[in-house]
Every structure is written in structure tokens, then in C-alpha cells.
Homo-oligomer: 341 residues x 2
DNA sequence: GTTCGTTCTGGTAGCGTTACCAGGATAGTA
DNA sequence: TACTATCCTGGTAACGCTACCAGAACGAAC
């Protein structure tokens, strides 16, 4: 039923090989022949079968992009960056969503392996991904990690300077005199969480503030989790005067909790976080954020991946670290308020 | 280099066919043989080649999901719904982003055809997609449209009751006494835009308000476009007292413009729109929205698609219409203010 | 005229899997 | 014993494409 290369060949009065050549750029094909073939293709509505092409040619021109949460604008930006580069290079991207679950990540990796993608860009679930990621390397599939680092995994890495950026962000709070600064910290098996916590402690230290473990609460990376973590913080006998949220969604949850407790931001509790939201300029407290160049994460990671695939660069493991941009709005309580967005 | 079914067969001391049977559920295979094969699979780290499977078996167990803007939370929700259903059914989803561009949609459709996906869920660019969508039907690929209808396209459809929902939304404004209600209308080649505009006019009529073409400005569906459209409205000699935005992102742009003009919402200008944002409860004006059940769009569309693929139901074209939920917050200026989100 | 190179074209084989058919073994029935 | 039914297994031939090799045609160079 479906039209094959043979049907086209028959109609054009040539061999399948010639049709194949025309499809693939038409090197060494008579102009006239080529036109006849193209006409036959149009007439029959022939669409080359990618499966057969991939199977035969060993090249699928497909990449995988595996992310923990496509609903998070930060990751959506990465998608956009990656897509642009891939499209430019004639590659198709298959997007997978792991929801931060290790098993779903494993399933996605397995599926992408089965699809014979030529490379994978992944923001891993966390350190626990180490086993399955190393396995990928074992299969010879080029791997580029974005955002989150995982020890002992062969592959390039594009990430933010979480330690330094967190330090800068918290310093903003210490500079305005805050003494009890809490952190909603994410999960310790995620490198960004650990690093941001390290930066947080550095900032405290620099300001000669004691580290209080009670002020650091773990969380997931979604709104709901940020909400609950904030509630726990607000129930403390000695309430924090400022909160550092590990990412944007957690901060949104924090805002909700603060509202419910009738606490004003930043007057009662200041709030800062990582990752901007496009709509952040509209959030009531005008969130002060550390905006990571997410789109660049996507473009750079994909560029690096394509280089590996192309065979350029055989260095063992490259690592790109990008600094974030500090966008100071009202929520941190400093008076250096900026205009919208 | 890569491990094939033959390698597994050799190690397990059976034929490739037996290995194939084990992979596919192991009907009619001796328990003992099956175990031997599975052990060989594990030992060699064998991953079946999906390309070969698809080519040989004519079933790729893959669906395409083509959307105009994955960065829009509305569509992201659709993704989540679709993914859940697909995963449950053992299908992989390939996500494509068209950016609302017809050519990119055409390219995606072509690519998905080449990948031999078994079906496509698509929120089309607009009426202009008609040609390329009909073509898909011609190729025998089941199609389900979501959100946006396109005339004369064979395939199921899941959409909102844009006319009725828009009427309800605008009625909220007329009920509070607004006389000059503007609409940022999207593009007329998109069904949702047209329908919402129809609902808008119905509501005006019901309130005995004259329709003023100057108050209806076209737009894209993104923040930037909403911003510019709002500016145009605010430059009018007789400024509107309320704005109905065709979707969430446009509304966000509107908020920005209103802010810049130092106009308060809802006191100076009321604002309502379609589609919620998770963070909407945090937006300063507490946007009043018509929240469409986006996730259901995704699940229902995918369910219908799988039914078609499975061969159940040969009705010509089914159409599912879902009503949205009106979430009244402060931005519309009625005093029936609700609690956060 | 022979040799070589270049340009175009076609045949064959194989990519890794499964559909389909066939056959051997075992057990149950007459 | 013979016949059928059932369970398990293997061989062969595709699926649609491209790598690879080979050959034909033509002109250029010796």
C-alpha cells in the first residue's frame, strides 16, 4: 500500500539506486534523470522511510533530549535552544519527560537506545542516574549532560556556576542585614542542590552568620513541594526573615504559602530563587532571581553533541560553566529595585 | 559492533526466532528456554532495534504530538496528558514544536510520516493547515486535532466550547457594567480566535452594547504580541475599561503594558483571558480566567487516537467538546473575589 | 588502438527484525 | 497402532533502504 522507492523507480524508468541518489543530494545524476525522478516522487507522494534509512545507513539523524520536567519554563527554554540547533543541522529531536523519576529515566534511555538515536542530551534525575548513564556510554552513544552534573559519567557537561551564583544571591540578603536566612534546598542527590547549598553556606560564612540546620529544608523541585517546605519554615519558633528557594517553581510555592500566612514580601519575609519565569515580572513580590541562560544550555549542549557525533574533538570530557544573571527586583528587600523584567 | 538478536541466539543456543518470541512476550516458549534467552540478553546488554522492528513488523508503537508552542503552559499540560496515556499503552511520543509556522508544521508532518508514526495528535497552526492535514489523512495516518478545529479535515477533534466560554467570560464584564470592552483577538485563521470573538459579540449583544471594530485588535498568541496589542488599545482616544485576551500569554503581555501605563487592574482596566497559568494565582491582578481542561484534551485525544489505531470505531469523525472552568479572581473587577487559585 | 579517467547507472547484498510456514516432539484419543 | 491436537522450535523470506562494487559510455592522452 505505501509507496516505496521501487514504485518511484518504476515510474521514472530508473533503478531504485538512482532514486536513492536523487533523494540524498543527487551527486552524479544527470540533471534530466534527476528531474524525472523528482517528478515521479511528487506524483506518487513518496516519503522515504526513515526506519529503513536508519537501518540500512546506520544513521538516524535523530537526537534525544531527556528532561525531568517539561512544564518548568527553565527546561522548556533548553528545549527551544536544542531544537533550533538540531533543526539547523537536519536532526530530529525526540523529547522525553522523566518527571524526576529514575525508573522513567531508565525507560527513556532504553527507548532512545532502541531507536538508535545518534546522541543524547540529558538533564539527569540526579546522582542516582550514574549507573544507567555510564551504561549509555558503554553503548557508545555520545552523551551531554545539562544543568546537573553526575560524577564518573563519560560525557560533556554544560552547567551553571551554582556555587558562585548561590553565593551572590544569598549575599544580597546578608548585605541587607538579614540574619535568619532559610533555604529550600531541593534534594542532596542533585548536584545543583548541593552546589547551591554550598554557595549558601559560603555566603553565610562571609557574613559571619552561624549555619543553622533547622533553616535548611529539603524539597522536590515543584510548586507543591515549595509550598509545603515553606509552611514548615513558617511554623518554626523563630521564623526566618528571608528564604532562598532552590528553583523557580519552589519559589512560586513559597509565595503561595507566605500569602496564606498573611506575610508580606519582602517586608515580612524576603525571597530569592534560581531561574526566572517569563511571567516573573508579574508576580506580586517581583521575585528577585538568578536567571540562568537556559536557552544557551540547550544550544551549547546540542552543538557539543553534534561535534561528538561528527567525530570532531576526542577530548575525554569537556565542561562548560555559564554564569547566571542576577535580576534584582523587590522580593529580596534591597532597595535597589529595578524596573519590570 | 552492536549486539543483535543473532548474537543473543548464539549465546543462548537457540534460533533468532526464539529470541524474538521471548522479547515479544514469550508465548509458546519453554520456561527454561526463555530463561536461558533472558540471561543471554542481560549478559550481552542486548537492546532490540526499534528501526528493524518497525520496518519488519509494520508497527512502530510511536505517536506524534505536534504543537504550536511547548513553552505555553496550556500546551505543556496537553503534553502531560498525552504522555500518560501513551506510556500506559506502551507507545512512545515524539513531540514537535511548530512555533505557529506553517512551514515548520509541514516539515514536522513530513518527518513524522517518514518515521512511520502510527498516529498524530496535532494542535494545528490554523485553517491554513488544511492542505497538509488532508494530505496526512490521504496517507492513512490517523489524525486527532486538539484545541483548534480545521474544516474539511478527516479526523477526530477535541476542543473547548470557545463560543460559549467566551460569552460567559465577557458576560462577567458586562454584568459589572463595563461598556467599552476590548478584545485582543488572536488570528482569524485560528478557530479558537474566531469562536472566542463570536462569543464576545454574543455577550455584547446580550448586554445591548454596540460592537466597535476599533476595540478588537488582532495578535499572535505570545506575550510580546499581547503587549503590543494592549499598547494600541491604550492609545485610543476613548480607552477601553476592560480587556478580553484570547489566551494566557497575551494576557501576561497585557498586564505588562498596563503596568507601564501606570494603570491599575481592575480599577482602571479590567482583564480576563482564556487558559490558566499555574502561577496565575500569583499574578498581581489575580487574573480572572477561563481555565480549559488542557490535560484532558491530551488524554482524550490520545485515547481516541489509540482507538483508531486499534481499529475500534470506524465512525467518520468524532468531536468532543469540553467546557472550561471559570475562575473568578480580582482582575475582572467583579466583587465576587475568590481565594487564591 | 590501447589505456586511463570521469560520469552516470544498475545489481547484489545486507542492515536487524518479524510473519509465515513447516516440522519434530509429546500427549491424548480411538 | 494410527490419528489428531498441542506445544515448542527453526528456516526462509520479506520490510525499504543504502554501501559497495561493477560496468557502460564517452572523451582525452599516449
Amino acid at each position: 500500500m505505501p509507496v516505496t522507492i521501487r514504485d518511484v523507480a518504476r515510474l521514472a524508468g530508473v533503478s531504485p539506486m538512482t532514486v536513492s541518489r536523487v533523494i540524498n543530494g543527487g551527486q552524479n545524476v544527470l540533471q534530466e534523470t534527476s528531474q524525472r525522478v523528482q517528478q515521479a516522487i511528487a506524483e506518487l507522494g513518496y516519503v522515504p522511510n526513515s526506519l529503513a534509512r536508519g537501518l540500512s545507513g546506520q544513521r538516524t539523524r535523530t537526537l534525544a533530549l531527556i528532561l525531568p520536567d517539561v512544564a518548568n519554563p527553565f527546561f522548556t527554554r533548553i528545549v527551544q535552544g536544542a531544537e533550533a540547533v538540531a533543526r539547523e543541522a537536519g536532526y530530529q529531536i525526540i523529547l522525553c519527560n522523566t518527571d524526576g523519576q529514575l525508573e522513567r529515566e531508565a525507560a527513556s534511555l532504553q527507548a532512545m537506545l532502541a531507536y538508535r538515536v545518534e546522541g543524547i542530551v540529558i538533564a539527569p534525575v540526579g546522582d542516582t542516574s550514574q549507573g544507567q548513564l555510564s551504561q549509555m556510554a558503554g553503548y557508545g552513544v555520545p552523551l551531554v549532560l545539562v544543568d546537573r552534573a553526575v560524577a564518573a559519567v563519560e560525557g560533556d557537561l554544560v552547567q551553571g556556576d551554582s556555587v558562585g551564583d548561590a553565593r551572590r544571591l544569598v549575599q544580597l540578603l546578608t548585605d541587607s542585614g538579614h540574619q535568619r536566612i532559610a533555604m529550600i534546598a531541593g534534594q542532596s542527590y542533585v548536584s545543583t542542590s548541593r552546589d547551591r547549598q554550598a554557595g549558601y553556606r559560603q555566603a553565610l560564612e562571609a557574613a559571619n552568620l552561624a549555619f543553622d540546620p533547622a533553616l535548611v529544608v529539603p524539597s522536590e523541585f515543584d510548586i507543591e513541594s515549595g509550598y509545603r517546605a515553606t509552611q514548615r519554615l513558617l511554623w518554626l519558633k523563630e521564623r526566618p526573615t528571608a528564604i532562598f528557594a532552590v528553583n523557580n517553581l519552589v519559589a512560586v510555592g513559597a509565595v503561595r504559602a507566605l500569602r496564606e500566612h498573611r506575610l508580606a514580601t519582602p517586608d515580612d519575609v524576603a525571597l530569592v530563587c534560581f531561574d526566572d519565569i517569563d511571567y516573573a515580572s508579574l508576580l506580586c513580590p517581583f521575585l528577585t532571581v538568578m536567571a540562568q541562560p537556559a536557552e544557551s544550555y540547550g544550544t551549547i549542549a546540542t552543538d557539543m553533541l553534534l561535534e561528538r557525533i561528527g567525530g570532531q574533538s576526542n577530548e575525554p570530557s569537556r565542561r562548560v560553566v555559564l554564569s547566571a544573571e542576577l535580576i534584582v527586583r523587590e522580593s529580596c528587600g534591597t532597595r535597589r529595585t529595578q524596573a519590570y523584567g
